[in-house]
Each structure stands twice: as structure tokens, then as C-alpha cells.
């Protein structure tokens, strides 16, 4: 068959799989996502017309909710792949078939990352200034330029591997390991690098002592290993319910065990940071004071979130450390939700805002995200979840429906 026709068949065939033959719940979910996206677009058009003044951001706190979400999702993208890659490398069967979901989650997460960066830009019309050759990529000195590089390369790799695997399965062929394995191996350092480079983006700012700590990148990786797998575990259980996708308890338990290690490391590193700041008690402590209590006698608007995040992390750790609780689906799921939101709050709010408060001249601007920001963020999540849902629907249809269970052996 003409390869072009094959590709066309594949595109339309998978398109049909994505939109046809779903349950009412599935269409309801799609409708919900569409509503999310539409209200997000409306909010963004408002922001586009007025400028970033419609956000809560100002000169003192110039990055906020958008960049926090971006950071969180980079972590999800990195962890999703790092988690499932050993399956390829060590040929460990129980989590073998979930690799593709990790890659698809990474794709959706990176798309959301790029969207969050776009909505945060003052001049999105000048995005091409970041391109090589026609623009001015400020390499090697700008970490932001590096971040743009690694994120896009990571997106391309994962998009390619995921669609190639689906494409092969669709055509009933076995994938070519000579293509897949090198790319999967490449995506390991890439996954580490996207989160490390993102951490370096903050870490390298000597002007912001809150971030200027050598363990920031390790903390990023550790927290990502908590939130990314949490999302995947819940997803696997949903898929197991609604499709023929069959993941063994053994695999879920293994992932949960990894997560327990990551949670210990995450809290340990966090504790190390907090100890250093409070014991040395330098001027830099003001940022932690703003995070956990407040400054100049005023309660910080983010303190409640900081404590919530910490409490969630501790409870989740307890759940995951006790094997019995970890192995009971009910408690494990509670733990997953808790750690997911703990990291989400930590990256979305507790990481960015205190870095800017007080600002470099000691002035306190009490930033809270505006309604526009929250709505745009919901829209971006809508887009990401829609992409992910459609990809999962297609891959489940191809890989795990009874009559098409082929090829991915």
C-alpha cells in the first residue's frame, strides 16, 4: 500500500476511534472538557485584549500561577516517562504495556507546559524570536532558551514514539526496536533534563535567595516522582474498570513502592531546606516566613496552602509507608490524591510566590491569582486532558479491545 494512504488511513481510522463508540460517560467527559476549554478561551481572549494586567501579576511578583502550573506539569511529564522506562530496558513484563500511557501523559503534559508559557508571555506574537536561525536563541547563557529546547525535543520524541507504537499496532505490525529503543533510552536523560533545566531556571537566579539552593533540582525530581506516578496509578485503575486494559496488581504495587521511596526523599530534601533556612536565620528567612505565616503582622494569603501541602505530603507518606495501607486500593487512592495535590500546591503556589515576596527591594506585594488566571489555567488543563483522553481512547481501542489485541507483545 502507498505509505501516504496508509498514514491517511491511520489518521482517519484513529480519529474515528477517538470520537466514535464511547460510552455516555465518555461523551459527558468530553463535553465537560469542551466547556472547560471554551471558558478558558473566553478568559484568555479577555487577557489578550487587556494585557497581563488582567492577571494578579505585577512587577514585584512577575511570575505566578501560570508558571507554577508549568513547573508542576514539567514534573508530571518527566516522571511519567521515567517511571515506565525500566519496563523497556529490563523487559519487566508487568508494567510493559503501560509504557505507552506514560509517553502519552508526557505528551499531554508538555503541551500544557507550552500553553502555560504562551499564556504567560507578554508578546505571544513574537514567539518566533525563540526559534533558531530566524530568531535569536540566547544560548548557552539563557536557561529559559535551554528550557525551550529540551521541552520541544522531549515533546517530539514522546509524540513520535507514542504515535509510532500506535501506528505499528494499528497496522498489525511489530514495532522496530531499532527505532524505539534508542529513542526511549534518549528520553531518560531528556526526562531528567527537562525537570532539571526547569529547576535551574529558578535556581540560577541569584537575586532570589528562596530558589538559590543547590538541592532545588533534586527536590524537583523527587516531587515529580511523587505526583506523576500518582496520576498514572489512578488512571490505570480507571482504565482497568472501563476497558479491557489489564494491568496487574503486582505492577501497581511496584509503582506504589517506588512512590513511597520518592515521598521519603521529597520530604527529607524539603526538611533539609527548611532546617537550613530556619537554623541559620539569615535575612533570607523572610521568604519562608511569608510562606508559612506572614510578614509585618499580616497573615500571608498563601500560608494556608503551604500548610495544606505539607499536611497532605505527610499523610500520604504515612499511607504509603505502611504496606497494608499501600496495598489496599481505597487507602492507596486517597494517598495518591493527597500527594498529587500536595505537589500541585507546592509547585503551583509555594514554589513561585514566596520567591518573589518580599521582592528584591524588600517590598511585599500580596499576590493572589486573578479569576482570569484560574480560568485560563482550567482551559489549559481542559486541552491537556482532552488530548490525553483522545490518545488513551485510541490506544485502548487498538491495543486492548478484545478483537484487536495484537502487536504490542
Amino acid at each position: 500500500m502507498n505509505p501516504l494512504v496508509k498514514v491517511k488511513n491511520f489518521v482517519f481510522g484513529t480519529g474515528r476511534m477517538a470520537f466514535l463508540g464511547g460510552s455516555p460517560v465518555y461523551y459527558g467527559w468530553l463535553l465537560f472538557l469542551l466547556i472547560l476549554i471554551c471558558q478558558g478561551l473566553l478568559a484568555y481572549s479577555h487577557q489578550f485584549q487587556l494585557g497581563l494586567i488582567s492577571t494578579g501579576l505585577r512587577d514585584s511578583v512577575s511570575w505566578g500561577f501560570y508558571i507554577g502550573n508549568f513547573t508542576f506539569l514539567v514534573g508530571v511529564a518527566a516522571a511519567a516517562v521515567l517511571l515506565v522506562i525500566p519496563a523497556y530496558l529490563y523487559n519487566w513484563k508487568p508494567i510493559r504495556e503501560v509504557v505507552i500511557f506514560g509517553e502519552m501523559l508526557a505528551v499531554a503534559a508538555i503541551v500544557m507546559c507550552l500553553l502555560f508559557v504562551c499564556v504567560d508571555m507578554g508578546r505571544p506574537d513574537r514567539f518566533w524570536h525563540l526559534f533558531p536561525i530566524i530568531g535569536h536563541m540566547h544560548l548557552p547563557s539563557s536557561i529559559m532558551a535551554w528550557d525551550a529546547c529540551v521541552l520541544n525535543v522531549y515533546l517530539i520524541i514522546n509524540l513520535f514514539v507514542a504515535s509510532y507504537l500506535i501506528y505499528c499496532a494499528y497496522n498489525g505490525k511489530k514495532y522496530n526496536p531499532k527505532i524505539v529503543v534508542p529513542l526511549v533510552i534518549l528520553s531518560i536523560p531528556m526526562a531528567v533534563s527537562i525537570h532539571t533545566v526547569t529547576a535551574f531556571l529558578y535556581n540560577g537566579m541569584a537575586s532570589r535567595p528562596y530558589w538559590n539552593s543547590a538541592i532545588l533540582a533534586p527536590r524537583f525530581i523527587a516531587s515529580a516522582f511523587c505526583s506523576g506516578p500518582a496520576l498514572l496509578l489512578i488512571l490505570f485503575q480507571i482504565l482497568r474498570k472501563v476497558s479491557d486494559f489489564d494491568i496487574k496488581d503486582e505492577a501497581i504495587q511496584k509503582v506504589a513502592e517506588y512512590m513511597a521511596y520518592a515521598m521519603v526523599l521529597n520530604l527529607f530534601l524539603y526538611g533539609a531546606e527548611v532546617f537550613k533556612e530556619y537554623y541559620s536565620n539569615t535575612h533570607h528567612l523572610v521568604h519562608y516566613k511569608y510562606l508559612f505565616s506572614g510578614l509585618h503582622g499580616q497573615t500571608s494569603p498563601i500560608a494556608v496552602y503551604a500548610w495544606m501541602s505539607l499536611a497532605f505530603a505527610v499523610i500520604a507518606l504515612v499511607i504509603f509507608l505502611i504496606p497494608k495501607l499501600r496495598m489496599t486500593p481505597m487507602t492507596m487512592n486517597i494517598g495518591c490524591v493527597l500527594i498529587y495535590f500536595s505537589v500541585y500546591i507546592e509547585k503551583g503556589i509555594a514554589l513561585i510566590i514566596p520567591g518573589y515576596t518580599p521582592d528584591t527591594l524588600g517590598q511585599v506585594y500580596r499576590y493572589v491569582p486573578s479569576m482570569t488566571e484560574v480560568r485560563v489555567a482550567m482551559g489549559v488543563f481542559g486541552i491537556g486532558f482532552l488530548i490525553f483522553t483522545l490518545m488513551v481512547k485510541v490506544s485502548v481501542a487498538i491495543l486492548f479491545s478484545p478483537d484487536r489485541k495484537v502487536a504490542h507483545a
Binding site: 507578554g122 508578546r123 498489525g172 521582592d359 502487536a407
Partner: protein, 312 residues
């Protein structure tokens, strides 16, 4: 492994009609898009030119001239003022330096508003380039307890001293380092400038600046027409668009023509000093050689060319 090709849903469906319909739709879409693009471009050639405009340093002299002409025209339409944009080159053998006498500054904020008018800063929202900090004499330079919003009947307030802060024009500027698109750089005469037509508004530089010197145009700047300063510089005080970063340029449009920056001229107590660091006979060199100077946050190795000193 079985062969799924036969049961592929795509293969199972009749193709002919669908394909031709699709092609028709796609063809129509492209035609419409092309038409929209063409008419849009014709209607707004200026916007297109602005969209594809090159980095300041990549412009040939001829392109620069055309770009400036286009901008001046646009400013005329926007502000009804005949704004003249210069692209004055740096003076060879000059490295600017600035000194401010902390023992004389009384915190009157004349510099703040002189700067706003001279540099076509937005009046609403107003994010002035100069921040005057009030601190306790007994506490010394302590930013954590500094107040930028003091509002006394008279200054100086008892027991207080004042520290105006704007761009420090670092020799080692972190803002330049972090910019992903090289929209900001240090000129040979030491002034850190921004190409407002290249900045993408990512605000990395605002984050990297340890002095709160950089400000963002959160919305379209508003300048009353009768208050526009029409003597402007491409890399300096020409009106900025929304969504880009701006900051003090030591009045690049004045100093490259030999004048003092505006803040030096309006300071009622003569606390502000400016000159050529490479000229051993300059006022600024006299201060560096005869006074005890301090720089802000010296531990960050930004090497500011803005020096604070105690003249008394």
C-alpha cells in the same frame, strides 16, 4: 500476530465520496485563509512589518531608517505627537558611571517624577523606574525593613534616610544573561538597553534583577498627548508597547549627547552625580577616589556602575 488491516475501520468504509467532500472542504478552507491573510496584510502592512521586524542589531542602516520612519508614523497616529526617534551610537572611550550621595538625599521624589516625564513612562498604570526607599538611620541599609510608600508631610522624616534605586547598569548584568532572545544587552558605554520590538515579555529579566529595576507594561501605557517627550532614542525613551519590559537607561537620549540624565538635573540637593568612569578628571572619578562608596548587594557580583556614597 494477526493482521488487523482487514478489519481496520478506515478500510471498511467507502472512501470515494468522503475523500472528495473532504478535499472540497479543505480546499475551501485554504482559499478562505489565503484570502483573509492577503486582505489583512494589505489593510495593515504596518502590523505585518512590525511582526517580521528584525532584532535591532541585525538591522542594516537602511532598514533601521525605514523602521524608524514606520515607528514615527505609528506614534503620530497613536499620540498625535511628532516623536523623533534617534539611534545615537555610543561615544568611544566612554564608560558611564553614576554616584548618589546617601547623606544628602532627602527622599523628595523629584527624580521619580522627572524621570517619568522625561522617559515617556506610562502614567496609568504607573510603575516608576526609580524607587525611593526610606530606611531607619539606626538600621543602616536594610532592605527588609525599607519602605517605598512613605507619605510624610515633609521630608526628610526624623531618624530616616533615603535610598533611591533604579537600574544599576551592572558590568555583569544578570538580566542580560537570562534573556532567552537577546532582547536586552550591555552597550559599549555600559548602558544596559532593551529592544522593545524584540522582547517577548517572558519577564525572566525582572526575576533575575536583584534591584527591582525592571518594569513590565502590564497594559497599554497611557501618556497624555501634551506630556509626550518627543526627543527619543530607539533603545531608550520612545513610547513602549504593551507586554514588554522597560527600565532606566540613564537617559540614553540625553547622555549620548553630552547632557546629564534628567534625575541629576532635577535633584534639588545635588545628591546625584554622573560622568565618564574612564575620564580621570571627571566628577565621578573624584568621588570614587576620595569618598567611601558602597554598591548594593555586592555579594551577587553584579558589579554595578551605580555607586552610593556618604558625602558628609
Amino acid at each position: 500476530m494477526n493482521d488487523p488491516t482487514d478489519i481496520s475501520p478506515a478500510a471498511a468504509e467507502p472512501q470515494e465520496l468522503g475523500t472528495s467532500r473532504r478535499e472540497f472542504i479543505i480546499g475551501t478552507f485554504y482559499a478562505l485563509a489565503a484570502a483573509a491573510l492577503a486582505s489583512g496584510c494589505a489593510a495593515d502592512q504596518l502590523a505585518l512589518d512590525e511582526f517580521v521586524q528584525k532584532h535591532f542589531k541585525d538591522l542594516t542602516p537602511d532598514e533601521l531608517k525605514k523602521t524608524i520612519a514606520r515607528m514615527e508614523k505609528k506614534y503620530w497616529e497613536e499620540y498625535g505627537a511628532n516623536i523623533k526617534i534617534n539611534a545615537t551610537p555610543p561615544i568611544p572611550g566612554v564608560l558611564y558611571g553614576y554616584a548618589l550621595d546617601l547623606s544628602r538625599c532627602i527622599g523628595c521624589r523629584r527624580c521619580v517624577y522627572g524621570c517619568i516625564e522625561e522617559n515617556n513612562q506610562s502614567r496609568n498604570p504607573s510603575t516608576p523606574w526609580i524607587t525611593v526607599l526610606e530606611m531607619d538611620k539606626e538600621g543602616g541599609v536594610d532592605l527588609a525593613n525599607a519602605d517605598a510608600f512613605y507619605d510624610h508631610e515633609q521630608v526628610p522624616a526624623p531618624g530616616k534616610f533615603y535610598m533611591p534605586v533604579a537600574c544599576q547598569h551592572c558590568e555583569n548584568p544578570p538580566c542580560v544573561k537570562v534573556c532567552p532572545v537577546e532582547a536586552t544587552w550591555k552597550e559599549p558605554d555600559g548602558i544596559v538597553v532593551i529592544d522593545y520590538n524584540w522582547c517577548i515579555g517572558c519577564r525572566c529579566c525582572i526575576t533575575a534583577c536583584p534591584y527591582g529595576a525592571r518594569h513590565f507594561n502590564w497594559s497599554t501605557p497611557i501618556i497624555p498627548k501634551d506630556q509626550i517627550n518627543t526627543n527619543t532614542e530607539y533603545l531608550g525613551n520612545r513610547p513602549r508597547p504593551r507586554g514588554v519590559v522597560e527600565k532606566c537607561t540613564w537617559c540614553i537620549h540625553r547622555v549620548r549627547k553630552g547632557q546629564y540624565p534628567k534625575c541629576v538635573e532635577v535633584c534639588p540637593v545635588g545628591a546625584r552625580k554622573f560622568g565618564n568612569l574612564l575620564d580621570p578628571e571627571s566628577e565621578i572619578r573624584y568621588i570614587l577616589e576620595n569618598k567611601r562608596v558602597l554598591i548594593l548587594k555586592e555579594e551577587l557580583n553584579t558589579q554595578p556602575k551605580f555607586f552610593y556614597y556618604y558625602g558628609l
